[in-house]
Symmetry: D2
Subunit: 138 residues, 4 copies
């Protein structure tokens, strides 16, 4: 795997776990989105402003995850982000959840660009597309 | 305690629990809000419409809970709602979390009436105030 | 699509949504798991007992979802469950999130049977395998 | 207010907010617990080990919060922790959620010391009591 475009650390919190003693699977997606938010802000495209301005939105059209090893309360995790695909009006992000024991899980999210209130996908704004392209070639 | 104004059942889900094997305390407030939403809809004041219309909002200004017995995965819980206080521009809701073993927890939420975008509390709309008053005397 | 093996209703709660006004994608998986828990209990294999007894576990090894239409606060949703695949030591569940406007989302979870503390997948207990097979042919 | 015993930063994530555009009240308690976990680890009493060892537990018996200003997606928040009360077998933690605009919310959690499987509260282990006492006098 190539060098990740971004890395985001977190520690598995008590509220990430369930009575089976391990991270509840749906919370992996919450943690992935935290990494995505931090990454977008670091690129100069903070989601809070994008959502408040309301000109474009990047809703998820697909999400998936593969769970290889259980994540336990207190585990230190590094989320490695890379761009899996970049098209005119959508992009895919890969997430790798790394611990000292190796890769605990991987995930992917696919985002489409829309104009809120209008139908169908729209081209990504050129500055955002250019930035994602730059992340991809790294 | 007087007859509750409303009752709302739920079963403790896996995602309500944590690695200590019991309901994570913050999720009790999520479950309380579910009961509050269902109750408001049953009174003819559905929150989704209120929030979409945006003329008034009823944000929480206070929340508290007392935990008496642990709630475990699979426990059947009845949330009993009653009105603890009703003022011109705010109201307090009491929640009692009942299981077969008795009361597992109690909670209270205090809601103020505001006009989004304006400062300070406003009187509750008269139809809502009247309905809450009617629930109170039951 | 064939008749679902199970149906589970829910209403999109305020805490399911985010500041973009629609269901936050990760919460779809929480709602899917609620349907899965209710279905397993209806089949006579309640997860809470399975987890407490600790002889077998059915951890998720994969989860995915496709989001077709945004789900909004207050939307009534019927989760339709069916069995996508059944093997000796794992099974896949399909979820269809139906609203009055049609299918808002679909999801899939893949569960492997393990013996906690031991390595590798184990055959599903025969009574559970038989029950899932029976659901499949319906 | 005296100097906090610990400070823990976070940024309001999309999943912290709801369709009303602000932090959903129950998530404040999740964020408070994150600060509590980080603080306990910094003191040398990591919760994950405590829960896994199972000799003592510090379950919440009470939680409350006052919401002064809405927290919005992207807001930077500093959680200031201090010890509100310390008794033989329980302690209370105060949380102050500070933003650039001032205090957005305050919260309190009350923890009792128990021995899992036994009835009633037990004295806090002396090393933990001593550490909390030291934090209190700062």
């Amino acid at each position: 795997m190539s060098k990740p475009a971004y890395e985001h650390p977190f520690r598995v919190a008590l509220h990430d776990t369930d009575a089976a003693g391990v991270l509840f699977f749906a919370h992996l997606f919450r943690r992935a989105h935290d990494a995505y938010e931090a990454w977008m802000a670091s690129l100069g495209f903070p989601l809070p402003e994008m959502i408040r301005e309301g000109r474009i939105a990047l809703p998820l059209v697909h999400a998936e995850a593969d769970y290889r090893r259980p994540l336990r309360h207190g585990d230190g995790v590094q989320v490695e982000i890379s761009i899996a695909a970049l098209e005119t009006s959508r992009f895919s992000i890969d997430y790798r959840f790394q611990t000292e024991q190796g890769t605990a899980a991987t995930a992917r999210t696919v985002h489409a660009c829309i104009h809120p209130g209008e139908k169908g996908a729209r081209p990504l704004p050129e500055p955002l597309h250019a930035m994602l392209r730059a992340c991809q070639v790294n």
